[in-house]
Subunit: 124 residues, 2 copies
């Protein structure tokens, strides 16, 4: 992979054909992976301007602010970008559970080799 | 988001139109986010069977085993799936730097509000 994007000091997101980049959200305090979502240019701009995480919903085809209905918003502490600038890391302070199921993280199930899913404790 | 996928105990990945799910890779020891890639059904199967992380390269349109050229493979410790089963978490033990730039993580730049990128120490 040779791409100038890995060495430049200018933010130049590589949006996919749908105009999106992957956004990975971690708890800035614990480092725990909370959720994965997608952002378009407008979601990035709003997140930077307001300090509150905004995403693009692919299923609803709409911009949304995390927490606008649940109250469980995500206050951004830091935004990082990966080497080829097609993924963002949002380090946040969550106001509550990040997952719509009420769990801290969306990644609450372990995949077994036989295809079973094992539900994990919320602090696993 | 109401979807049976968030409560079932059976692995049923929701592949996108290209047959892919997002794969987030963290260091199982430190919890640090290392990289983001994509997996198709074959990459998932090979990762489960061999214990070594395999991905699908969208740019090269080819299956690859991480480390097959660099030597910096990723030994899987655990696989998790998110609530709607369109993203996987691979907790791994890395054999070396995960990023093709030689850094531990692909997320080595902070995005500033004015669009500048600040290069971070490798242990940030």
């Amino acid at each position: 992979m040779t791409d100038i994007r890995d060495s430049i000091d200018r933010f130049d997101p590589r949006f996919d054909a749908s105009g999106l980049v992957t956004a990975i959200v971690t708890d800035a305090g614990s480092g725990v992976l909370l959720m994965v979502a997608h952002m378009n240019a407008e979601a990035i701009r709003l997140t930077q301007e307001t300090g509150q995480a905004h995403f693009w919903s692919r299923s609803r085809q709409a911009l949304w602010r995390k927490g606008e209905t649940s109250g469980n918003g995500l206050t951004m502490v830091e935004m990082r970008v990966d080497c080829d600038q097609d993924a963002l890391l949002l380090r946040v302070t969550p106001a509550g559970p990040a997952c719509h199921t009420g769990r801290r993280s969306c990644f609450y199930r372990r995949v077994e080799a036989d295809g079973r899913l094992i539900f994990l404790d919320d602090d696993a």
